[in-house]
Amino acid sequence: MIPAALPRPARRVLPRTLARVFLRSLFLQAAWNPRGMQNLGFADAIAPALDDLYPDRAARAEASARHLEFFNCHPYLAAAILGGAVRLEERVASGEASPQSVSSFKSTLGPPFAALGDGFFWLALRPTAALAAAATEPFLGLGCVLVFIVLYNLVHLMARVWLFAAGYVRAEGVVDAVAHAHLSSGTPFLKACGAALAGAIAARGVVDAGVPGRPFQALLVASGIVLAWAALPRLGATRSVYIALFLGALIGAHFF
C-alpha cells in the first residue's frame, strides 16, 4: 500500500520553482568531486526552492550551506531525494521539522537508492537498449540510433519526473513508492533480454563472416568470440583489442 500524500506545510514553493529545481537536477553531477561527490549539484538544484522558502538572506544562506554536505546517489534516483528534500525544507521553513531531518533523509536514502539505480539503469536498461539498437541495425540502418534513444529515454525520463514528483508529494513515504515501482524485479528480465540480444549480435558476426560458402571464416569468428569471452577478465578490453587487431592482421595476411 503506497502511503497518501502528506499534509501541506504552511510555507510552500511555487509550481514554477519546482520545475526549476527539476531542471537543475539534470546538472547534478556537473561538479562531481571525490570529497563531497554530488553535494554542489544538489545544493545548486535545491537553491530556487530555498529562495522561495527563506526570504531572509541569512536564513537562506544557512539552509544553502546545509546542502553542501556530502551527498551521493544514482543521478536519476536522486530526483526522488531532491523532491523529498524540497518538501522537508517546506516543513523546516514552517517550523514543523528540524533542519536535521533533511540531512538524515538525504544520508539515509542515498546509498540504497544508488544501488537500485545502478542495478536497473546502468547494468540492465542501458546495455539492453544499446543491444536492441545494435541488433536492429541490419534492418533499420541509422534508425537503430533512435531505437536506443527512445527505448532508454522513454523509461529514464518518465522515471526521473515520477521520482521527483513522488519525492515531493510523499517525502519519507517515497521509499514505499519506489519499492512498488518494480525497479529491482524488472532488472533480471531486462538482463535476460540483453543476453539474448548479445547472442543474436554474435550470431550475426558469425553468419556475415561465413555466408556465402566460407565455413572456415565462420568457425574462426565463432572461436574468436568464445576465446575473447574467456580471456576478457584476465586481459581486459585494451589488451584484447590489440591482440585481436594483431592476430586478425596476421590471419588476413595469410601468415596462418
Binding site: 545502478d118 541509422l142 578490453a237
Partner: protein, 243 residues
C-alpha cells in the same frame, strides 16, 4: 601532397570546429549534464559523422565501440574508460579521412583508426580524474563563500563543465586536423595490407561481441546468449536454404 576533403584546408578547419563543438558537448553530457546517453558511441559517432558528412560511416564505427564499452559503468568513485572521448575523436579523424581518401569509412580505415586512438579511452579516464580535482577546488570555493553567508555559493556547480568541454573539444579538433595523415596511410595501403586490416577489423568485432555478452552481469547470460546465437544461426541457414 596530403589528401584533403573536397573544400581543401578551409573545409578541414570548418570540420575541426564542428567536431570540437559536438565533441565538447558530448563530454559534458556524458556525466555532468542531462545523461540522456547522447554521448554513447552508438549515438555520438553517427551524429558527429552526419555533421562531418558521413552518418553511415559514423555508425560503422559507433556500433563496435558501443559493444566494446557496454560494460563500463560509473559506480560511486570508480571511473570506467572514457568511451565518448574515443568515439568522438575516432569519428572526427576517420570520417574526414575516408572522405579525403575517397574510400569512405571502410574496415581497413577503421582498424588503423582504432589501433592509433584506442589509448584515448584510458587517457580520457585520467582527464576525468583531473576534472574531479578541479571540481574539489570549486567545492572549497563554494564552502568558503557559504561560510561568509553567500546563499548562492553553489552556483559554481556549472563551472565544473568547462574543463571536460574544453579538453574534449580540443582533442576532437586535433583528430580532424590529423585526418589527412590517416587518409594518406589508407591511400598507400596495397592489396595484402588491405586484406590484413580488413580481417583485423572483423577480429575486433569478435571481441566486441564477447564484451557485449560480458556486459550483462548475470550468471545466466552466457548460456542464454549461446542458445540465442545458435538459434539465430540455424534459422538464418534454414531461411537461406543452406541447412
Amino acid at each position: 601532397m596530403l589528401p584533403l576533403p573536397a573544400g581543401g584546408a578551409p573545409h578541414l578547419l570548418l570540420l575541426a570546429a564542428i567536431a570540437a563543438l559536438i565533441g565538447g558537448l558530448s563530454a559534458v553530457e556524458r556525466k555532468g549534464a542531462l545523461q540522456l546517453m547522447l554521448a554513447r558511441p552508438l549515438v555520438l559517432a553517427p551524429v558527429l559523422g552526419w555533421a562531418l558528412g558521413d552518418a553511415q560511416g559514423g555508425l560503422t564505427l559507433g556500433i563496435p565501440l558501443e559493444l566494446l564499452f557496454l560494460g563500463g559503468v560509473n559506480l560511486g568513485g570508480s571511473l570506467p574508460d572514457n568511451e565518448s572521448l574515443l568515439a568522438g575523436t575516432m569519428t572526427a579523424m576517420v570520417v574526414p579521412a575516408g572522405m579525403a581518401a575517397g574510400t569512405g569509412v571502410d574496415a581497413p580505415l577503421a582498424a588503423i583508426g582504432l589501433a592509433l586512438l584506442f589509448p584515448l579511452a584510458l587517457f580520457g579516464r585520467r582527464l576525468e580524474r583531473a576534472s574531479e580535482r578541479r571540481n574539489a577546488q570549486l567545492m572549497e570555493e563554494a564552502l568558503a563563500r557559504a561560510a561568509q553567508g553567500d546563499p548562492a555559493a553553489a552556483r559554481v556547480n556549472l563551472k565544473g563543465l568547462l574543463l571536460p568541454f574544453g579538453a574534449a573539444a580540443g582533442i576532437c579538433a586535433l583528430g580532424v586536423l590529423a585526418s589527412p595523415l590517416l587518409a594518406l596511410a589508407r591511400v598507400r595501403c596495397g592489396g595484402p595490407a588491405l586484406s590484413s586490416l580488413e580481417t583485423a577489423w572483423y577480429a575486433v568485432w569478435a571481441v566486441a561481441a564477447a564484451c557485449a555478452v560480458r556486459a550483462i552481469r548475470d550468471p545466466r547470460a552466457p548460456a542464454l546468449a549461446a542458445i540465442c546465437a545458435a538459434t539465430v544461426v540455424a534459422i538464418t541457414l534454414a531461411v537461406r536454404g543452406m541447412w
